[in-house]
């Protein structure tokens, strides 16, 4: 017999399972395994979606923490019996998962609240998912050192290049960077998905005055420690810092339009049908409104009424640019390779 990866994995799994005999392979039928990012996200997911789901269905939802790349890999490894029932995904991975025929189709019959979600958000997931939450990538700055912040990406590039500011920008190791930074800035500077020269030329001009952040907390440290004066960050995370008492930080949605950074929800094929009930709760206007209040991000149900504080912070969907995720997915690896060779970090 020829040994290939499938045989090998099967043998490995069998060996592992031999030691786990007696344990259930999947959770019980009335238990759903849903996903969440850690920290405040997890609590918001539990309070806003898990609690009403459990109250209405009598089922139980367990929350798996992690990130979309890991969750998608878990589903890809076992598509016939996925270990997760509901995935929270970045938009580009949502497209990859949909194209891989790993996810179920979203319809109003299965999800009545889907009727109030803009159709373009479901279309962006190729009909196999939809966006339920969005933020905008823009300019976050330290008010103590930046009295007149750049109004847009072009001004940002010019003033950082001139040495007026030290800027903290996301490194390429951070998953969303190709879209919310590279695409958004390139688009603002006149580039296209097939021509990212404007972005790389701008980075070359700014390079002496840049530091790179590897994760959102890292960015905040750069600003708090005084390493950087401003940088490219998210609106919701900025407002979270403000609500925690950080009074020296502020955010600007670039005049060219920041990239709408969305969070998609998807249901893997062969996952429990209870997932539809849970996802419907995620799309419910009252639940989304509560979720937005906790996280300071916009939500996608058209019936949501924001609180006064949030209404002033959340940009209208029309003020943010919805990146062409499917097109970007086609060229993204080339962008990353070019970044590695020309920029490094």
């Amino acid at each position: 017999m020829k040994l290939n990866r499938r045989h090998f994995l099967g043998a490995s799994a069998a060996t592992g399972l031999a030691g786990l005999s007696g344990l259930p392979l999947r959770a019980q039928a009335n238990t759903l395994n849903v996903t969440a990012y850690g920290g405040v996200w997890e609590q918001a997911i539990r309070d806003c979606f898990v609690a009403p789901f459990e109250a209405k269905t009598g089922a139980t939802a367990t929350v798996s923490l992690g990130g979309p790349a890991q969750w998608l890999a878990q589903v890809e490894a076992n598509p016939e019996n996925p270990p997760l029932d509901v995935l929270i995904m970045t938009p580009d991975l949502a497209v990859i998962a949909a194209e891989g025929d790993l996810m179920d189709e979203f319809t109003v019959e299965k999800l009545p609240n889907l009727a109030d979600i803009p159709q373009e958000f479901t279309d962006a997931c190729l009909g196999k998912g939809t966006y339920f939450d969005y933020g905008v990538g823009g300019i976050t700055y330290n008010k103590q050192y930046v009295s007149e912040p750049p109004k847009g990406f072009a001004e940002f590039v010019e003033r950082v290049s001139n040495g007026e500011f030290i800027a903290s920008v996301p490194s390429i190791s951070y998953g969303p960077t190709p879209v919310f930074f590279l695409w958004a800035m390139n688009n603002a500077l006149g580039g296209t998905v097939d021509n990212v020269d404007p972005f790389f030329e701008a980075m070359a001009k700014m390079k002496d005055n840049l530091v790179f952040w590897a994760g959102p907390n890292d960015f905040f440290n750069h600003l708090a420690s005084g390493e950087a004066d401003l940088g490219i960050y998210f609106d919701g995370r900025t407002w979270n810092h403000v609500d925690e008492g950080v009074n020296w930080i502020d955010f600007i949605n670039p005049e060219e339009g920041g990239a709408m950074t969305t969070v998609a929800v998807q249901k893997p094929k062969h996952a429990s049908d209870l997932a539809w009930d849970y996802i419907n709760e995620m799309l419910d206007p009252a639940n989304q409104s509560k979720f937005a209040d906790i996280l300071n991000y916009g939500v996608t149900n058209k019936k949501v009424q924001y609180s006064e504080k949030l209404a002033a912070r959340v940009p209208a969907m029309s003020d943010a640019l919805l990146p062409p995720y499917a097109e970007i997915a086609r060229v993204r690896n080339g962008w990353v390779d070019r970044w590695n060779r020309e920029i490094g970090m």
């Binding site: 290939n4 990866r5 490995s12 890292d218 750069h222 005084g226």
Partner: protein, 279 residues
């Protein structure tokens, strides 16, 4: 043969079995599967194309060289710092040896992320060090840009890894018969010559073990480099990127296998050194 007799005859193997099974299932098999992925073509079948592409690309060759050079530099600096500390610990510390060992190990009890953020806070443009140099001492007109420089990234790695080198050297130094050094001194050698020609050669095994241990950990280090940058592009950073950004798992597996080969090569080197020393 009765069960009792079988157990008695194979007692050693049976005691080893849980550890071996654990390692086989959770370490060897995943590693093997990972390597297999790098040799599997997209349409199935065996391929060396990824290795050929990787090892003939100047950029990726540069990444391999940078990974090895960075690790070697960290190992060399760590050993130079660790030897005097180990010497004091073994020969001079007396009743304070416990306290010194605790101080050495204590930093390892703190999260590496917290320690790395500490470097950021200390060496930021408006951080404590620049504040001393510019405002308090007036030694500089403008703050220095320490972060994202190779020097600071190496310093942070050395800070994390020096205890491993100290403990490796100290354990060997402990076993050196002091009468040999005393004999050299009695025969007219200076302290420096006695150290250079007697103590140092006898502790080469500890130096080698410490250096290789530090080298291998630095080889796979990720958090410090991703947070402090330093402009380094190393294999662990690119591997993470393939999983997190591009989802090119096959390329990640190729890089992982190359990193593994470098690590195994180091282990082989260590074994050769140890055998040559006759330890």
């Amino acid at each position: 043969m009765s069960l009792h007799a079988f157990a008695a005859r194979h007692r050693r193997s049976l005691l080893l079995a849980p550890a071996l099974i654990f390692l086989a299932v959770f370490f060897v098999m995943p590693l093997f599967d990972n390597s297999l992925r790098s040799f599997t073509a997209e349409e199935g079948g065996f391929t060396l194309a990824r290795y050929a592409a990787f090892l003939t690309d100047r950029f990726y060759l540069g990444v391999i060289v940078e990974t090895v050079v960075l690790s070697a530099a960290v190992a060399a600096i760590s050993v130079v710092i660790a030897y005097p500390v180990a010497y004091v610990l073994v020969r001079k510390s007396g009743r304070f040896s416990g306290a010194i060992i605790f101080m050495l190990i204590a930093p390892l009890l703190t999260s590496i992320i917290m320690r790395t953020f500490g470097w950021q806070v200390l060496f930021a443009r408006r951080g404590l060090v620049n504040q001393w140099l510019v405002q308090d001492l007036g030694l500089l007109d403008a703050p220095l840009r320490w972060l994202n420089t190779p020097g600071l990234a190496i310093a942070a790695l050395v800070h994390v890894l020096v205890p491993f080198a100290v403990l490796s050297i100290a354990s060997v130094l402990q076993g050196v018969d002091r009468r040999l050094e005393e004999g050299a001194l009695m025969l007219g050698a200076s302290r420096w010559r006695a150290f250079r020609e007697v103590t140092l050669p006898l502790t080469m095994d500890g130096i080698g073990t410490g250096a290789i241990l530090v080298f291998m950990i630095a080889n796979g280090s990720f958090v410090t480099l991703v947070l402090l940058g330093g402009g380094f592009q190393t294999l662990p950073l690119l591997i993470y990127q393939q999983f997190n950004t591009t989802r090119d798992f096959a390329l990640a597996s190729t890089m992982s296998t190359i990193l593994l080969v470098i690590a195994v090569g180091c282990l082989w080197l260590q074994l050769r050194l140890v055998r040559r020393q006759g330890v």
